[in-house]
Symmetry: C2
Subunit: 172 residues, 2 copies
DNA sequence: TCTGATGTTTACGTTCACGTAAGATTTGGA
DNA sequence: TCCAAATCTTACGTGAACGTAAACATCAGA
C-alpha cells in the first residue's frame, strides 16, 4: 500500500525550496524571484502561506533555466520568452503522453515543438559560432607568439649553450 | 608637408567620443564610464575639460572589450583583470617594436604575452565547450521530434492520400 | 569672430537581479 | 502536543552598469 504523506527519495513528491536551492546551487530567494517574474510556474493550488514543494523534474527544469541564462547571457525577460516555448513543449509532451489526440492535432503539436527547439538552436548556434571565431583568433595570435619565441631561442642557441625551453602545452 | 590640425581619415588622429560611440554601437556615457572604472586608459595628458580624442586603434580596442564582455558574460571588474593582460601585451608589443631590448628580456616579454593569451583562451574554450554541448543536446532532441513527425506522416500517408510535407530545413 | 553642435563634469535617477531583515506561519520530528 | 528549524510574505536595501539632466566649456566651420 502506497505512502500517503510526503517522503524523500519519492520522486513525484516533495523537495522544499531550500533543498532545491542547494541542489542547483542558488538561493531560496532567487527561486521565489524566478517564480515571481513568471519564469517558474507557481504551483497552481498552494493555499497561500504554505510551503512550496518541488519535484525532481522541476529541479531539472530550473537547472536548465540557469544554464541557458548563464550561457546565453539573456535577461530574465528574454529568458521568459524562450521558456514560453519550453512551456509549450512540456504541454505538448503531456498531451502526447495521453494517446487520445487526433493524429492531425498531434502533428500540429510536434511541429510547434520543433519550431521552439529551432528558435533556441538558432540562438545557441549564433553564440557558439561567435565564440568559436574568437577562440580561433586567440589560437592564431598565440601561435604567432610561440613562433617568435622559438625564433629567438634558435638564434640564442646558435650563439650560447642551450638553456630551458618552452614549458609544455599541447596545441589541442 | 604634414597637416598640423586634426583631420578625419588621418589614422593616428582624432575621433570624438560621439563618433567612437557610433562606430562601436554604444553611447558616449558608456565610454566615459569605462574610462572611469579603468577599463579604458585616460588619455594621460588631457588638461581637464578638453574633449577626449581617440585613434582608430583605440576604437578597435573598445570593440574587442565589448566583444569579450558580451561573449564571456563578465563583469567590468573581471574584464578589467583580463585587460590588465591585454594591457601588458600592448606594452610588450610596444617594447618589441623598439629593437633596443636585450634578447633575454625580449624572451621574458614574449612568455608573459603567451601566458596572458593562454588565460583568455582558457575562458573562451570553457564557454565554447559548454555551448557546444548544449547545442548538441538541442540538435538531438530536435532530431527526435522530426523522427516522430515522419513516423506520423508515414502512417497517415499509408491511410490517406499524401499532403504537404515538412518545410525545408537542412540538418547542417 | 561667432555660433550651433558636440563635449565635459557633477550628481542624482533607474533597471535588473537579487540580498536582507522582520514578524508571522508551517512542518517534520521528539 | 510541543518545538526548533525552515518557510512565507512584505518591504526596503544594494551593487552593477549605465541613463538623464543641468550648467558650463570646446570645437569646427561659416
Amino acid at each position: 500500500m502506497p505512502r500517503k504523506r510526503p517522503d524523500k527519495s519519492d520522486d513525484d513528491a516533495s523537495l522544499r525550496i531550500g533543498d532545491v536551492a542547494g541542489l542547483v546551487g542558488t538561493t531560496p530567494r532567487t527561486i521565489r524571484y524566478y517564480e515571481e517574474v513568471g519564469l517558474l510556474a507557481e504551483g497552481a493550488a498552494r493555499p497561500a502561506g504554505r510551503h512550496r514543494l518541488y519535484t525532481h523534474a522541476e529541479v531539472e527544469r530550473l537547472r536548465e533555466v540557469i544554464r541557458l541564462k548563464e550561457l546565453l547571457g539573456l535577461t530574465l525577460e528574454e529568458l521568459k520568452e524562450l521558456l514560453a516555448a519550453e512551456e509549450a513543449r512540456a504541454e505538448v509532451r503531456a498531451q502526447l503522453q495521453r494517446e487520445d489526440v487526433a493524429p492531425g492535432h498531434r502533428r500540429e503539436l510536434l511541429l510547434q515543438a520543433g519550431g521552439h527547439i529551432d528558435r533556441q538552436l538558432e540562438l545557441v548556434r549564433k553564440r557558439a559560432g561567435e565564440l568559436a571565431k574568437l577562440q580561433a583568433e586567440l589560437c592564431d595570435t598565440r601561435k604567432r607568439v610561440r613562433r617568435r619565441i622559438r625564433e629567438l631561442d634558435a638564434h640564442r642557441d646558435a650563439t650560447f649553450p642551450p638553456a630551458q625551453t618552452l614549458e609544455g602545452a599541447g596545441e589541442r
